[in-house]
Symmetry: C2
Subunit: 442 residues, 2 copies
């Protein structure tokens, strides 16, 4: 069942931290996303914090200041003092909701905790981040029918959308070890490709480097092996969401992906944003999930009345590029596309339920990718492969540079936010990553 | 470079533990595999041990008895006192080799440590096991060309072996959370299938349940993101090997696997044997790796002269079934197939090098599956799908029962061993797992 609105959603709430009230921040008091941070450049242990305006509240210190005393027990104390969110996620959404309420009360204007908490804030500009959780397993889905159709056309012109697509929330297992947090820099991967006219593969740095604009989903409380999560309880097992860039080497992918799926084309790096926005924070920004009349209805195990009223999330997803030259010239990053998560063919709860219907167990901190979120319009495409029509139509940047795929030194930035009349802007911050040159082959 | 022979391989070595010298044990003093165990039915912490004959030597207690004093330092002490092998694996094969030598010296006839160690042995019959390591990422390869061809024929009759197979060591990411140790029991998975004549998928328990007989490979010291592991150093990053049953639901697989590979058809359970046999123990049992003259040579990054002399492992792989009725009647498990790991088209070092050539990082405790190890002969097939020719040719068991696929209550057992003239039998023990009925759909 979708999260109910409560006092933390009140649009009239204001924080005693001024930057949380400016109407442009991603992190007003109605958001309160969780992350793992430390002072930048320090060797401090990472710790759990919450973003508020342009500041971070350290939850270990906040706990010592007593703001959670009404809900504190040994498990919560242990979880909040941890170096990752896994133990907190494992306590379930009832606990994270109670913590969120205590934070909302302590951070709003007039709160008695203001003096104690003010002293322990850290400016986000002075922080660095770790992954929010130790990701045990990472699964990437493929929930945008617009992306699946566009990419299918390029890989299989005769057969773009496979017959299972509209019945099965297609997903596959990804690589955990190479997931990094925003700011990740990684080398252009090297590997095999088979050029169209060749008879022997070429071994060289990948040429068709791409991004994929995705929403990332952190699992909260998991399920036991053999027990499925029913569709009407799926969101109880979702801690929150962030942004994901699923970097892809299209030329490696085309040669390796049959019959078992993408492997080296993906597992060299994936980058996520540092703040996890809870489903509770997103409750006012839900939309109905719809299917075209021509599409099959979901099978009963993937269907529920609530999906039609609140199954989708109205989250804007913007992708920007900043080339090496743009950085040198002081040119700001330039938008490549803007889409919305509500175009997704499958919902978050359908991903969770499908993943477990066979008895597969999810664990706290497991991570799901939504798949590339392309919308119905060409300018809503979530990858360069789509924007450049398979590399045939270059993108002209405002400084005159052209791009077909990502070049060495390019940064790709994804931003996400939601907003509506009468409710504040809730943002995800951003995920930025940069492609470095390939390692030397000599 | 392959491991060199040393005094631990001496076939004349005998242990003061009589069961290690009987010529039939999997665990003579020349083996010394590592695992994680505790007293069966207890709530003790799991701890690291080594198998010797029908006994287990607890390495925490052995350390207290002083047998590692010449090589001890703080990191090794920490690793040996851990509840999993990850920290020990991360110390690298130089350290595990030194520990193995100390164990060989302490366990051989006439060793001064005999009295102290005898007192701390635990019979394997009184032990239970955990996974040897916390598996961060699990990758399953597809290295048997005989399996790939046979399965390809069933899934794609017109196109059995895809053009990339003989160039690329095909692999894909699997699920870590559902990997269990021998003795695992799991429910028949439920999911979508699309019968040949249907237009709407069926949602029901899987009907075509299968096993896959594989070798499992534990990574020792890993590599940094962005750094590849060269083929001539690949085995330095392999801690050891075990047995793996990659359970598969063929009917789920056929409907879901395009275009991103198997997902729910595999991730409900995978089962591994508890003891990890080091590459050092297997050094006398290496074979040359060969290709048919008609096959392409491996690309240079996957090729090395040592492969031709010692690239392959001569490991017999036997699969057996014991049905519920056989258990009730006291009928022993019956052999379904016998194959050999040396039939593999790709080697262990090629898997490791290919996995990292794009910069993907491996971590200590990561796990690779070899893929189903089918040999060239029909009776060497490593799955029921192959043995029954896609479900068309039932197997008649000696008690009159028939099997096309696995039925509820069936146990599948995989055993592995190697042996040659003038060298003792080295075994892997076994991996056993049992299929339980599907959960109730009401």
């Amino acid at each position: 069942m979708p999260v109910q609105l409560n006092e933390t959603h009140d649009p009239a709430l204001r924080s005693w931290i001024a930057s949380a009230n400016d109407g442009t921040t991603d992190f007003p008091i109605q958001n309160l996303p969780f992350g793992v941070f430390r002072r930048a450049g320090s060797s401090e242990q990472f710790r759990i914090g919450v973003a508020i305006g342009d500041q971070i509240l350290d939850l270990t210190l906040a706990q010592q200041a007593g703001i959670f005393s009404a809900i504190m027990d040994a498990r919560l104390a242990h979880a909040l003092a941890s170096t990752s969110l896994n133990a907190f996620m494992d306590l379930g959404n009832g606990v994270s909701s109670a913590v969120r309420l205590a934070l909302s009360q302590a951070l709003r204007e007039g709160a008695s905790a203001q003096a104690a908490l003010h002293a322990i804030l850290l400016a986000q500009a002075d922080a660095e981040y770790a992954l929010p959780a130790q990701i045990g397993d990472y699964t990437d889905f493929y929930t945008s029918v617009h992306h699946a159709t566009a990419v299918g056309k390029l890989f299989r012109p005769d057969n773009p959308l496979l017959p299972n697509y509209k019945w099965v929330p297609i997903g596959y297992h990804g690589r955990s070890s190479s997931i990094g947090v925003s700011g990740q820099q990684f080398r252009r991967p090297i590997g095999q490709t088979m050029p169209p006219t060749a008879t022997t593969p070429v071994f060289a740095p990948a040429k068709r480097m791409d991004y994929e604009c995705e929403v990332g989903i952190f699992i909260g409380q998991g399920n036991a092996l053999g027990e499925a999560i029913a569709i009407d309880h799926a969101e109880d097992h979702v801690f929150g969401m962030c942004l994901l860039n699923d970097w892809s080497a299209r030329d490696l992918q085309a040669w390796e992906y049959q019959p078992l799926g993408p492997f080296l084309a993906k597992n060299f790096a994936s980058t996520i944003s540092p703040w996890v926005v809870t489903l509770e924070a997103l409750a006012p920004y839900r939309k109905g999930w719809t299917r075209d009349a021509a599409d099959p209805q979901a099978l009963p195990y993937l269907d529920h009345a609530d999906l039609r009223s609140t199954g989708a999330f109205d989250i804007q997803l913007e992708v920007l590029v900043q080339t090496e030259k743009m950085r040198q010239d002081g040119t700001p990053a330039q938008r490549l596309s803007l889409s919305n998560f509500s175009h997704s063919y499958w919902t978050v709860s359908q991903m969770v339920t499908h993943h477990t219907v066979n008895g597969c167990n999810l664990r706290a901190g497991d991570f799901l990718g939504s798949g590339t979120q392309s919308g119905p319009l060409p300018e809503e495409a979530g990858s360069l492969l789509e924007l450049t029509e398979g590399g045939k139509k270059p993108i002209i940047l405002s400084n005159g540079e052209q791009r077909i795929f990502i070049e060495d030194g390019d940064s790709i930035i994804i931003r996400g936010w939601t907003q509506k009349d009468g409710a504040p802007r809730i943002g995800f911050g951003e995920v930025e990553g940069r492609l470095l040159p390939a390692r030397n082959l000599e």
